[in-house]
């Protein structure tokens, strides 16, 4: 049984994703929310890897797990941090959040233990590509066919629209009457 069909890998990762996504919304302190969101994005990358898409997993972790939190962290730095400290003091009383964090910690330990033992029992491979025999070259070939041939104009159009939006916002900021 490869990782994709393996409940021992899927259930702990899913529970962690749901718990941390819930916590990201529940926390009043925006820094804690951001930290929980980072964990959700990293674990989503793990789900992508289990599903056989290593390329998407790397992009998910690089963009959503690292680049986006840095931008959001910079934005938080510009906002009122004093207010955040007051909210942090209010957060201390919540037992419910501590319970969720404790359960998340138990699940993290369970993931490490169960994944290692599961791979030791089922050494056929961790993701679907290993089990169906897809090589990396075949996956990259399919990707390049899609990006550079099949959907190339869609990508170009999206890039053009987004460039216009960013340039428009810059011009918008230059105007004194706004």
């Amino acid at each position: 049984m490869s990782g994709i069909y393996n409940p021992i890998i899927f259930y702990p990762v899913s529970v962690l994703i749901i718990l941390f996504a819930f916590l990201a919304i529940k926390f009043k302190n925006i820094f804690y929310s951001l930290l929980c969101a980072i964990i959700v994005f990293f674990l989503s990358g793990l789900i992508f890897y289990i599903l056989g898409s290593e390329y998407n997993a790397i992009i998910q972790i690089a963009i959503y797990g690292i680049a986006v939190p840095i931008i959001l962290g910079l934005a938080i730095m510009f906002t009122n941090l004093q207010k955040n400290k007051e909210i942090k003091a209010e957060n201390k009383a919540s037992v419910f959040k501590h319970f969720i964090l404790l359960s998340a910690g138990v699940f993290i330990l369970a993931i490490f233990y169960l994944t290692i033992t599961s791979l030791a029992i089922n050494p056929q491979g961790f993701n679907i590509n290993e089990s169906i025999g897809n090589t990396s070259t075949q996956v990259i070939n399919s990707f390049s066919q899609g990006i550079f041939i099949q959907y190339v104009w869609s990508f170009e159009l999206i890039a053009l629209i987004l460039t216009i939006i960013v340039a428009g916002l810059t011009i918008f900021n230059q105007r004194k009457d706004v």
């Binding site: 994709i4 749901i18 919304i25 951001l34 992508f48 599903l51 959503y64 986006v68 960013v166």
Partner: protein, 102 residues
């Protein structure tokens, strides 16, 4: 314990999507709303990759759509943060209720 099927991954994407919708409706902080929107996109990505893996192992169209969503999501976040920065200069508050006259 039963074997994991396509439905399990779809349910995971759905739950993440619902959490994102709830967060974007209920949250007051602008950045928390943006994080919730990213959760929505991640839920959609999980669905795309699940369908590509289970139903289409040759062309991998879902993987490419997922790339689209990641690129668009990252740029959308940058644009939204830029608008937030412009509004924050005026309002000096991150409460989304005060941004009604956007």
């Amino acid at each position: 314990m039963t074997e994991i099927t396509i439905h399990h991954y779809l349910y995971l994407g759905l739950i993440l999507f619902i959490i994102g919708i709830l967060g974007s409706i209920l949250a007051k902080h602008v950045i928390k709303v943006l994080i919730s929107i990213e959760f929505i996109l991640t839920g959609v990505n999980i669905n795309f990759i699940t369908f590509a893996t289970f139903c289409d192992t040759t062309t991998l169209g879902g993987y490419i759509m997922s790339l689209f969503y990641v690129a668009i999501g990252a740029v959308e976040l940058a644009v939204a943060l830029y608008i937030f920065y412009l509004m924050y200069k005026k309002k000096t508050s991150e409460n989304i209720d005060k941004y009604g006259d956007l």
